[in-house]
Symmetry: C2
Subunit: 209 residues, 2 copies
């Protein structure tokens, strides 16, 4: 009996794993999932390609985890905004507004998370998180309905519409072709943000005919 996994080793491994995840994420935030190859991630993380497979089942698994981590952060932020002060409408407004602004500030990553064509394993993760967003909004809508600030409606479907409206509105402005050139130009996105949020709130606040 000689080698036994020790705490030190466990930490070192965890560290390496984290470093790989971080590098993968940084790769994605540069050029999207498309040009994040295993070999690149490996060299950036200063490990051999083979090592990556010691920490992750497969490429898809690795990137699914990258996706998960990145999106969890976003979901948490939205959740926080939705849990803040004010009535349901105000909270929805704040959450939507900030979400859109954050996305527009980190366009490549946002595009990768929202709209980039990805392989099925990662796409599955995306669907999961779209649902997560929708559920957060759904809860807020229900609260609004209970408090009487929002009219009766199918909260589930409304929230989905909301997610779709904001995602679609961002796709254009975020897409690499749009972003590529005037990377630095300070396009004023505020009108866009205002309309998106306006539309969404209307959709939710209006009374059904």
């Amino acid at each position: 009996m000689a080698y036994r996994e020790t705490e030190k080793m466990r930490q070192r491994k965890a560290l390496a794993r984290q470093r790989i995840l971080d590098c993968a994420r940084s790769r994605v935030s540069e050029g999207g999932f498309r040009n994040a190859q295993i070999s690149q991630v490996a060299s950036q993380a200063e490990v051999a390609t083979g090592t990556i497979y010691r920490h992750f089942e497969s490429k898809e698994e690795l990137f699914a985890e990258v996706f998960r981590a990145a999106t969890e952060q976003e979901v948490a932020r939205v959740a926080k905004d939705l849990a803040g002060d004010g009535d349901a409408i105000e909270r929805l407004e704040r959450a939507l507004q900030r979400f859109a602004r954050r996305a527009l500030r980190a366009p490549t990553m946002a595009w990768a998370l929202i709209a980039e064509p990805v392989d099925p394993r990662v796409e599955a993760e995306r669907l999961l998180y779209r649902r997560a967003y929708a559920e957060l909004f759904e809860t807020a809508i229900r609260e609004g309905m209970a408090a009487g600030t929002l009219p009766a409606q199918e909260a589930r479907h409304s929230s989905t519409c909301l997610v779709g409206a904001i995602a679609e509105s961002l796709v254009g402005p975020l897409s690499p072709t749009q972003t590529a050139h005037h990377e630095t130009s300070i396009t004023d996105h505020e009108p866009l943000v205002k309309t998106i949020v306006g539309f969404c709130l209307q959709g939710v606040t209006g009374t059904r005919r």
Copy 2:
């Protein structure tokens, strides 16, 4: 001086080309773009794989054309509905409703067109057509604004929200995992359709705060 392309030949070629397109489309409507391989299309069209390259630059080009044709049809239908009788609101309602119902009736094809991960050449086509839809809606919204049936708004952005809301709402119900099992079960989609349309109309008709 011997062979000269004749009318008969030209027609025959056009026919073959069309048959290839049709088969490609049928492949897609079965399992999406993902499992539509050149070799399969070829065998279904009863030509050799090489022949396909006599008619199309590349796989992507072929499928971009499939996409174009399928989507053009849809765009035309929406355009027609938007050009019908009634005020802007009624026309928008009709167009949205029918669009959703058609999609839900042919889920695999709709999913391929709306949400399936596809390669860049085809994705480009998709963006184009999302824009086309948005522009149709935009026009309708402007007409409504001019006629006084709709309040002043950024028609461009509103229409994008509209496209997003409807697309997102359909993704869940259309996705293969949802569709696969209860293929035949007659899920009643009407409540969904009703909420989507309600949300969209609200988003467009409500007065800005």
